[in-house]
């Protein structure tokens, strides 16, 4: 991100009538935008935690604790479940923390206008939203991991030997879903927000290989290849590759490459749609 590069007035109609002001540093503005999001997030911390942790924790209790106790599922299942649950946590958190405020910001009163008036390119405001959403995704994963450990008990196969790899995948997955949140949040209207959960989020969670490993779908080839359009598959499989490498999973290189490509795609679509909404 260039600090202060700027295009001057093109073919000025008249000399500048005001004292020249130096261009504002984009880093400073970015910092102020991030500071605003941190302040709002801190104020809403209890809601944030409930929103992001509730769903994965309920799943953990039922599938990671109750069903194994009842003997309905094998021990191996909970191991396959944990990386998926982390993927769901970070994905839900990242996508919601961008899409929900974006819908409100572009709603009836256009609250985002106070940021759109900032003397920086409009895309900077969208990119800051993605960064802030990605950070919230990472925080969600960091909160859910220890809770999972407590609920599910000790898991010897779980490898935390490469925490940097796990963090990198968490960050990449969060950025992917924050970018998706930017796209969704700028495309749908406030009245469609409930529909978003039924039509996009719910099928994505169910067919995202979060609650079962992708290799398990070898038995149902149509599903095995059909779910590949779902970005959650790659986050869950990459998590498996990093946390439980001894169990079958998609090659780490393939899942990470897919995450990178999808991030670029959703970011491009999201920025385009953000620009369209901003210049409404």
């Amino acid at each position: 991100m260039p600090a202060t590069s700027d295009a001057g007035p093109a073919r000025p109609l008249a000399p500048s009538p005001v004292a020249e002001r130096p261009p504002v540093s984009r880093f400073r503005v970015f910092g102020a935008l991030l500071r605003r999001d941190v302040r709002v997030a801190r104020r809403e911390l209890p809601y944030f935690l409930i929103r992001t942790v509730m769903q994965p924790v309920l799943f953990l209790i039922v599938f990671g604790y109750l069903l194994p106790k009842m003997g309905f599922v094998q021990r191996g299942y909970t191991l396959a479940l944990l990386p998926g649950i982390l993927a769901v946590s970070l994905a839900l958190s990242a996508v919601q923390s961008v899409a929900l405020p974006m819908v409100q910001d572009f709603g009836f009163t256009r609250e985002i206008e106070d940021r759109l008036l900032a003397p920086v390119p409009m895309s900077l405001i969208a990119i800051e939203k993605v960064v802030s959403g990605a950070l919230q995704g990472v925080i969600a994963a960091c909160v859910v991991l220890p809770i999972a450990r407590v609920i599910m008990g000790p898991m010897p196969e779980l490898e935390l030997t490469n925490p940097l790899l796990v963090l990198a995948i968490t960050l990449l997955g969060s950025t992917l879903f924050a970018s998706l949140g930017l796209f969704i949040g700028t495309v749908i209207s406030a009245t469609q927000i409930g529909l978003m959960f039924s039509i996009i989020i719910a099928p994505m969670l169910m067919f995202g290989c979060a609650y079962y490993p992708w290799r398990g779908l070898d038995a149902v080839p149509a599903f095995k290849y059909g779910v590949l359009i779902n970005p959650l598959v790659y986050v869950a499989e990459a998590m498996r590759g990093a946390l439980t490498p001894s169990l079958p999973h998609m090659p780490l290189v393939a899942s990470c490459a897919a995450m990178l490509v999808l991030t670029a795609l959703f970011l491009a679509l999201g920025l385009q749609s953000f620009r369209r909404r901003s210049l409404g």
Partner: protein, 342 residues
């Protein structure tokens, strides 16, 4: 004195609301289905022309009013000048920068008071100001201090730490003004700032604007209240249907208003036949037909009303309403467009 705002041949055309002009034009045709090639043609008549070649110059330090009815193109003009709407063609320059080529440099010099208050509802009143200033690169703490001073000046200091939802409509409007000023802009835009304000809040806002004007800021406001434009503005641009019809000082514009009182006579049918007879009514200097309305001007005010009623009866029409307007910006507007401001 140089120009804070220069607008040349500015045009904004919106696509038809459906976005499917071909089908829309086919649907409109009540007769036989047009040939297929017809449907594929872009239907430019369905486009909405919001601005139709607008030229304008606003001088540094001027308080300039854009006066016109709803849908005249005022808000589109403000939207383009504040870099929130892309023009279809033409050029606009604010504070020396082109709004299309260098929009963020334009934004650095402007403050905007929107038509509807749109504060950041996740932040308190003072946070709205401090963060807005921070988006302009100002240090946060310093911005918070000047924010409190501004709130004091605008009379809502007691609401500094309140959530913005706790503020009344008038208070939120003041917050919007404070927000538009916190980063010390040189050009301030206000889009219909007094719509929805009670009379006292409106007078207070006028005082604030006069204050800012004395400080030497360039102010551009849109309004469809002629008395507001008349009392506040150095110069007024009268806009209708995306065009600038007149641009001058309020005094000069009023001097151009057709002489005498305007007597608007509403009839129960087309006014064309009444027109010829009304021209001969003693005391009437000028008369026009606008659909079912007859517009007559007379220096003798209401005295000509019986004559006009008689002229209407002679043409077989019944008078349904009569309205008198003394010489004003409004009568100038009506004489230029055949329409009222509101």
């Amino acid at each position: 004195m140089s120009d804070a705002i220069i607008v040349e041949a500015l045009r904004k055309v919106y696509p038809p609301p459906s976005g499917r002009s071909g089908r829309a034009s086919a649907a409109r045709g009540a007769g036989p289905t047009p040939p297929a090639t017809h449907i594929a043609q872009p239907d430019s008549s369905a486009d909405v022309v919001a601005l139709d070649s607008l030229d304008l110059r606003v001088r540094d330090g001027e308080l300039f009013g854009l006066l016109g009815p709803n849908g005249a193109g005022k808000s589109t003009t403000i939207g383009i000048l504040t870099t929130r709407i892309m023009p279809t063609s033409g050029r606009a320059q604010v504070a020396g920068y082109d709004v299309v080529a260098a929009p963020h440099r334009v934004r650095q010099h402007i403050g905007v008071v929107p038509q509807r208050p749109n504060p950041d509802r996740n932040l308190s009143t003072i946070e709205n100001l401090a963060f807005h200033a921070a988006y302009f690169g100002l240090p946060f703490d310093q911005a918070e201090r000047s924010g409190r001073t501004l709130l004091e000046r605008l009379g809502i200091a007691d609401k500094a730490d309140a959530k913005v939802d706790a503020l009344s409509g008038g208070q939120q409007q003041r917050l919007m003004i404070a927000r538009a000023l916190i980063h010390e802009p040189t050009v301030i835009f206000l889009d219909e700032p007094t719509v929805g304000l009670d009379p006292q809040a409106r007078l207070d806002l006028w005082e604030i604007l006069r204050d800012l004007h004395v400080q030497g800021r360039t102010i551009i406001m849109t309004t469809h209240y002629m008395e507001e434009a008349d009392q506040l503005c150095d110069r007024i641009g009268i806009v209708d249907r995306g065009r600038l019809l007149a641009c001058d000082t309020p005094e000069a514009l009023k001097a151009r208003a057709p002489g005498g009182t305007l007597i608007e006579v509403s009839l129960d049918g087309p006014a064309a036949e009444t027109l010829a007879r009304a021209q001969h009514v003693a005391g009437v200097t000028r008369v026009e037909a606008h659909g079912t309305a007859l517009h007559a001007y007379s220096p003798r005010g209401g005295e000509v009303i019986p004559g006009l009623i008689a002229a209407a009866s002679a043409a077989g029409r019944t008078v349904t309403d009569i309205h008198l307007t003394s010489p004003s910006l409004e009568s100038l507007f009506i004489s230029m467009t055949g329409r009222k401001l509101k």
